[in-house]
């Protein structure tokens, strides 16, 4: 989980505290960041990759990044295992969706309540973390997945049946197509990624890391374990809630089947493959798994048609086996995730040709 140290290019050093705490330390980094953002927001204008299909994939990845960032803050940075993240996404989704569909709240006003509702429920399920760790805590979050799904299924009739949600609007613009909603999704994704990155450099983030590394030592240093663990749960599930709010307004439909235990497992797989305790690792993991899954979803049906000697369903199933194998290989060959590999590549580049 430890990150590779930052190696600034030769001659770049901080002579003030303000310079030292900058996220983007060099002019080149700032230029690349701005260029990256420009490119990100220019995607809907680029022929070839601006098709609704590609944009939908990117929107889906953006929303998943938000949910996974929350999970990585809780699990990767604070060390508290959560296997029920998609249930908290569901809380945000249904809260925001119902406020919009039944009370007429606009998207912009319903996102925050969606996040807060999820955070409130998340804190409730986080309370056992004071006494429980590891797999035992995982069981309580698994309980959250089961209980919250049960409530949505049997306790609230509209969530069991599914309901239509109005698209996000700003003035006269309705964000009801992938081309338009892309901007909404990416603004939220970029802002929440930046927030997460900053948060982890703050006192709060350092407290989370201290708790993860050794909670007794952290307590000995004066960190209020209970408070910080609950804060981690609140932040994690707030992120999930915002992701859920975005999801239902993007889909313009809210339904229970979108929030399953399987989704929670995928979220965990994404942050493990990307790198636990790493913001950029979260993005890498989401992109990597999204691309792999898409290969299965596209190539599987094609293979089914073109290889008729295979039994019904075998081609898609085999591709899932391949995904599973890749995940295992990652675990064996690069347990610290793609983020670690990325750090090594960056360090090699910065230190070249004196990388010894």
């Amino acid at each position: 989980m430890a990150r590779a140290p930052f190696y600034p290019p030769s001659g770049v050093y901080a002579d003030t505290y303000a310079k030292d705490i900058r996220i983007l330390k060099t002019r080149k980094q700032r230029f690349l960041a701005v260029a990256g953002l420009v490119l990100l927001f220019a995607v809907p204008l680029v022929p070839g990759i601006n098709s609704p299909y590609h944009l939908r994939l990117l929107i889906g990845a953006g929303i998943t990044v938000i949910a996974c960032l929350g999970l990585n803050i809780l699990t990767g940075y604070c060390g508290q295992l959560n296997v029920g993240q998609s249930a908290f996404v569901m809380v945000g989704a249904f809260t925001s969706g119902m406020l919009n569909a039944f009370l007429g709240w606009p998207f912009w006003a319903s996102v925050l309540p969606g996040g807060l509702a999820a955070a409130g429920i998340g804190v409730l399920f986080g309370i056992p973390s004071v006494r429980l760790k590891g797999l035992y805590l995982a069981l309580t979050t698994l309980g959250a997945q089961i209980i919250l799904t049960w409530i949505a299924l049997y306790g609230i009739t509209v969530t069991a049946a599914g309901f239509a949600v109005n698209p996000a609007r700003l003035g006269g613009i309705a964000f009801d197509t992938p081309q338009k909603f892309y901007y909404v999704a990416m603004v939220f994704t970029a802002a929440m990624t930046f927030f997460a990155r900053n948060l982890m450099r703050s006192r709060l983030g350092r407290a989370f890391i201290a708790i993860r590394d050794n909670d007794r030592a952290a307590e000995g240093m004066g960190i209020d374990i209970f408070r910080y663990k609950l804060l981690a749960f609140a932040i994690c599930t707030f992120y999930a809630g915002v992701a859920g709010a975005l999801l239902v307004h993007y889909m313009m439909w809210a339904q229970l089947e979108s929030f399953t235990l399987q989704d929670s497992i995928w979220y965990l797989a994404m942050i493990i493959v990307g790198g636990l305790g790493s913001i950029e690792g979260t993005v890498f993991g989401v992109v990597f798994i999204t691309v792999l899954k898409e290969l299965v979803l596209v190539v599987g049906p094609m293979a089914q048609t073109r290889l008729p000697f295979l039994p019904i369903g075998a081609a898609s199933g085999l591709l899932l086996v391949i995904i599973g194998s890749i995940a295992i290989l990652f675990g064996v060959l690069e347990p610290r995730g793609m983020a670690h590999r990325w750090s090594l590549i960056k360090a090699f580049y910065r230190l070249w040709p004196f990388g010894y």
Binding site: Y53, D176, L297, P301, T305, S316
Partner: protein
């Protein structure tokens, strides 16, 4: 060796990808399928997909679908949604880019989740599995019974009718339901107490957790409540649990499986002996029908297609569901070709064709389907069947379904 393997892999991938990405040719209608090809529901979905794909391919081999203004062939493209709504939306966008003009699925949740997409894109949906909101859509066409909430309602009306014919034994009709704890169950039981009360029937409901291996307590309570018949709302696995528990208890109460699973699935999973006497409802003529009873021309064709394409596999009733969707799509295209030439067959033209369908019964596979304004539900009739010696035989005539609709919001 390594180069050879890589070359083989590359060639295989190219063989898979290249023909599929080729653009649709003039007069060729792209039929999309978005359903779960992987995951827990894939068994059912894949059978539906195989049915519609095989039937449309069969028509292609016969020279295409003929109409007054020409002939059209179809190109069948599928996308694996894993039964996830967001992925289904991605798939819809992808297939739309591949010029999809009509689409089909066997995933009721997708019929609702994609409403905004297929209505905006003007691509009609033909399906044997509908959700709730899509029953209201002008762009969704069912070859189904009248929605999930009508399965048990229709059964109650049928059993009540039989009970009345028998002289109302016992004075009050007590019926039971045993349901597994699955997502669609609340929808299947939507507002059912009010309906039972209206019918003058006492309904006793029991639920068993998904994954359990014993439903004896639930069945015992139903027996003690005096249930004359029991309706099982569960997957085939759940049905086998119920049947095993009933056998262990020596329970003689007739039981009927809802359309969430077929009797064929239950026979395959639990064996013919366990399934003996188990009833089920179908809106089509099942593959597992006793061959000695003959069958419609549609069933004969379905069995031939199965033998040709999947000879090594066990036939499945849901294959007929897919065949029916393929037949409705083909009939819609046929009707559309009465008004437009093959080169102009887009979603709107096919919708107009579907709107013209009257009294279409899929070569006898189902009851006549007519699509009229505000009613695209389909045959609206089911038939009850019973397992006898590993096959199914009809136990009722075709029964009109109830037509209750769960409110859209």
């Amino acid at each position: 060796m390594r180069n050879g393997t890589s070359r083989f892999a590359a060639l295989t991938l190219a063989a898979i990808l290249l023909p599929a990405v080729a653009a649709a040719q003039a007069g060729e209608v792209v039929v999309g399928n978005i359903s779960a090809m992987t995951g827990p529901t894939s068994g059912t979905h894949m059978m539906c997909q195989a049915g519609s794909r095989d039937y449309l391919e069969y028509l292609n081999q016969q020279g295409g679908i003929a109409g007054k203004l020409g002939k059209a062939k179809t190109r069948y493209l599928a996308y694996d949604s894993q039964y996830v709504a967001t992925k289904a939306k991605d798939g819809f966008a992808r297939l739309l880019e591949q010029k999809m003009a009509v689409w089909t699925q066997c995933a009721s949740a997708h019929s609702d989740a994609l409403i905004a997409d297929y209505e905006a894109a003007k691509v009609p949906l033909v399906t044997g599995s509908q959700g709730i909101a899509s029953l209201y859509s002008d762009w969704a066409y069912g070859n189904y019974h009248s929605g999930i909430a009508n399965m048990i309602r229709t059964w109650i009306v049928w059993v009540k009718g039989e009970w009345e014919k028998a002289g109302k034994p016992g004075g009050t009709l007590v019926l039971g339901t045993v349901t597994s704890d699955e997502p669609y169950v609340p929808l299947a039981l939507w507002d059912i107490d009010a309906f039972a009360q209206q019918q003058g029937v006492k309904l006793v409901k029991e639920t068993f957790p998904k994954g359990t291996t014993d439903a004896s307590p639930q069945l015992l309570r139903l027996k003690n409540a005096g249930a004359r018949q029991i309706y099982v709302i569960a997957s085939a696995t759940g049905a086998v649990v119920v049947l095993r528990s009933a056998r262990a208890l020596g329970l003689q109460i007739p039981m009927t499986q809802c359309a969430a699973a077929t009797l064929g699935d239950v026979i395959a999973l639990g064996g013919p002996e366990l399934a003996e006497g188990y009833q089920g409802e179908y809106f089509f003529e099942p593959m597992s029908k006793n061959p000695a009873l003959g069958g419609s021309p549609g069933l004969k064709l379905a069995r031939e297609l199965w033998a040709k394409n999947h000879a090594k596999e066990v036939p499945n009733d849901m294959y007929i569901n897919g065949i029916l969707s393929g037949m409705v799509i083909a009939e819609g295209i046929h009707q559309a070709l009465e008004a437009v030439p093959p080169g102009k067959l887009d979603g709107e033209a096919i919708k107009h064709g579907l709107d013209r369908i009257r009294g279409f019964d899929g070569q006898g596979l189902t009851r006549p389907i007519s699509y009229v304004k505000d009613d695209h539900i389909g045959p609206k009739q089911v038939r009850y069947w019973v397992v006898k010696k590993g096959f199914v035989e009809p136990v009722s005539e075709w029964v009109p379904t109830t037509t209750y609709r769960i409110p859209k919001k």
